[in-house]
């Protein structure tokens, strides 16, 4: 089994529901966004960069097979789970931030201060908490915690806490356009493999050799 994700840019309407679902479910502190939806070429979201051209591009951790972040991590805090997802052990990370320089996709984020303090600074209501409320361990390793320790790195886990219970990641469930799909890349007959073949799927920065397991289906040019 090798986890993979396909995002159909033809179906993506740029609503950013996945962004918000991700932020909420994973209790991301202010200023931290694991998942972002862009309007490539434009400085403003939902603004066509040129007449007749507008598409949206959700970007989060690409769960690379040849992940530079895992290779540089001096203590093996960033590692590949058996299904191929790239996870971070919040109890082992020493916070050297080497992985942040190594990742070409700019998706890794650091806890510059304790999340409670960050909440205060951003003016959140006192004791207001959101997100999946319990710690989650995978094979004993802490891969999700609602309150992150200060000084560690975090990023998208493909919602390890939900997948381990047989549920889909929050972004997949939250997408009203059903643009997202996960599946098994090792199985040539899986739905995502089929889509990758039939729809000319592409990856981000394939030239970096990171072998992302997130694939994008190109959109048709729109008439607007």
């Amino acid at each position: 089994m090798k986890m993979g994700m396909v995002i159909d840019l033809e179906k993506c309407i740029g609503c950013r529901s996945c962004m918000v679902a991700c932020k909420q479910h994973n209790a991301q502190p202010p200023g931290t966004w694991w998942n972002r939806v862009f309007t490539p070429g434009s400085h403003h979201h939902l603004t066509p960069p040129a007449k007749g051209i507008e598409f949206f591009l959700p970007v989060h951790c690409q769960h690379c097979e040849n992940a530079p972040c895992a290779k540089v991590c001096p203590v093996g805090a960033t590692y590949h789970a058996p299904d191929g997802a790239v996870l971070i052990d919040f109890e082992r990370c020493i916070g050297c931030r080497y992985c942040m320089s190594a990742c070409p996709y700019g998706v890794r984020q650091f806890n510059w201060e304790a999340p409670e303090k960050a909440h205060q600074r951003a003016g959140y209501q006192e004791h207001y908490r959101f997100g999946y409320p319990e710690d989650h361990r995978k094979e004993g390793r802490l891969v999700y915690a609602p309150l992150r320790p200060k000084g560690v790195v975090e990023k998208c886990t493909f919602c390890a806490q939900y997948r381990d219970k047989g549920e889909l990641p929050a972004c997949v469930r939250g997408c009203p356009g059903k643009a997202r799909m996960i599946g098994d890349l090792d199985d040539p007959d899986s739905e995502i493999r089929k889509l990758i073949r039939e729809r000319n799927a592409f990856q981000l920065l394939p030239e970096k050799g990171t072998k992302p397991t997130v694939y994008y289906l190109p959109p048709k040019a729109k008439e607007i």
Binding site: G41, P68, G76, P104, Y105, W112, E113, L205, K208, P219
Partner: protein
């Protein structure tokens, strides 16, 4: 101990203590006290690592000149070389600590080392180099460990002969580790295919050449301060100055070679690198070229070498120039977002994805694709404190141990 020495020890010791307190405070509050953020995740501290590692090369230059190339006139300076090497390589390890989010967990490097990581290699080789520098210094001091220090001396029949033999044996090992610290520190950056500014085979040889230049300048400065600029060591100073000048020339050549190759092809990434190097940082860039070159050229002049203030100013200029060079490792790497694309249907457009800063900066967007980093007050205080630590250690050793040649002490 002279009054000047006492005061210098007091001041440098105090600065180091202040840095420790500042670091403890930063440990409590988090790295939010620095001016770093997610898109610009390493700054002054890691530049400091590269800087101190470079300064530590003096020991290598002296030991290999004396024992591998037979330059006997440098022998009286060998202990100073080993001492400055030890002080700087330990400073390099110290300056990494405040950059680490969870330093308490550093034991994980021993429990779960990932041998793919160049950072693990660097920690290993820095420790080995520190150990071998200390050992080398001890061997060199052995014949002079007399009086109250005699209890620290290993008992051998002929201390002078023993010292000479073992210094000769250790020199090649020290050379290996010494080159290792520069090459591997460079690899931390130059293995990163994500960052065009770093991803260059020229970086490791360049680190070696800068280090030989600045490390030797550090020894030259220390020697002039300790022994003065009288006739006695002029010969040795001249040799050191020549090494400094040649190393700086090789460094500038490697750097320019890299820039020309980047600039010639002129793809979009390079374009951005050039904009940063020649636009926002043009003055710093000019300084990083001119200051080491001018400093090294001045040291070649006999007039300069015969006057302590002039020699100190020239060596200082070179060292500051190299420091700026180290600072410039970061901006063109972080302000050039790796995740760029040509949006579908818009050939010719080069578009970078902004990165979530992870911090709250009033007046700045959460999502940044470039960031004007300047170190915060606490970063500067900690870096100065670690510099003071290196000075303190060198002075203390000179005061307490038989480092200087007998005639003077």
């Amino acid at each position: 101990m002279s009054a000047t020495m006492k005061n210098a020890l007091r001041i440098s010791g105090a600065l180091f203590l202040i840095a420790i307190v500042a670091w403890l405070y930063q440990l409590k509050e988090g790295l939010v006290l620095t001016n770093l953020q997610n898109s610009y995740s390493w700054g002054l501290y890691i530049s400091g690592l590269a800087f101190f590692v470079g300064n530590a090369a003096g020991g290598l230059v002296l030991s290999s000149s004396i024992y591998l190339f037979g330059v006997k006139k440098l022998k009286p300076l060998a202990k100073l070389g080993a001492l400055t090497a030890f002080a700087n390589v330990t400073a390099a390890m110290l300056i990494v600590l405040p950059d680490i989010g969870k330093p308490i967990r550093l034991y994980n490097m021993l429990l779960h080392p990932n041998f793919m990581s160049p950072l693990v290699w660097d920690v290993i080789v820095l420790n080995l180099y520190a150990a071998v520098s200390a050992l080398y210094l001890y061997i060199l001091m052995l014949p002079d460990l007399t009086g109250p220090l005699a209890r620290f001396a290993v008992k051998v029949a002929d201390p002078a002969g023993f010292s000479e033999t073992w210094a000769r044996r250790i020199a090649p090992v020290a050379l290996l580790f010494a080159i290792g610290i520069h090459v591997i520190t460079a690899w931390i950056f130059s293995t990163q295919g994500a960052r065009d500014w770093w991803f260059s085979p020229a970086m490791a040889p360049d680190f070696v050449s800068v280090a030989i230049g600045v490390g030797t300048a550090v020894v030259l400065l220390a020697a002039a301060l300790a022994y003065g600029t009288g006739e006695k060591y002029q010969d040795a100073y001249q040799t050191l100055a020549l090494i400094v000048f040649m190393a700086v020339c090789v460094h500038l050549f490697l750097m320019m070679n890299d820039l020309v190759i980047h600039a010639w092809f002129g793809d979009a990434e390079t374009h951005r690198i050039m904009e940063i190097a020649w636009g926002d940082f043009a003055w710093a860039h000019i300084f990083e070229v001119v200051a080491p070159l001018a400093g090294a050229w001045l040291l070649l002049q006999e007039r300069v070498r015969r006057s302590l203030p002039r020699l100190a100013a020239s060596a200082g200029l070179l060292i500051v120039g190299v420091f700026v060079h180290r600072f410039l490792i970061m901006p063109a790497a972080y302000n050039n977002i790796p995740m760029t694309m040509t949006p579908l249907g818009l050939p010719g457009v080069h578009w970078s994805l902004p990165i979530a800063s992870g911090r709250f900066f009033p007046g700045l967007s959460t999502f940044l694709d470039s960031y004007a980093y300047a170190p915060s007050f606490i970063e500067v205080v900690i870096l100065l404190g670690i510099m003071a630590y290196a000075v303190f250690l060198v002075l203390l050793a000179i005061a307490k141990l038989p480092i200087l040649a007998k005639e003077v002490s």
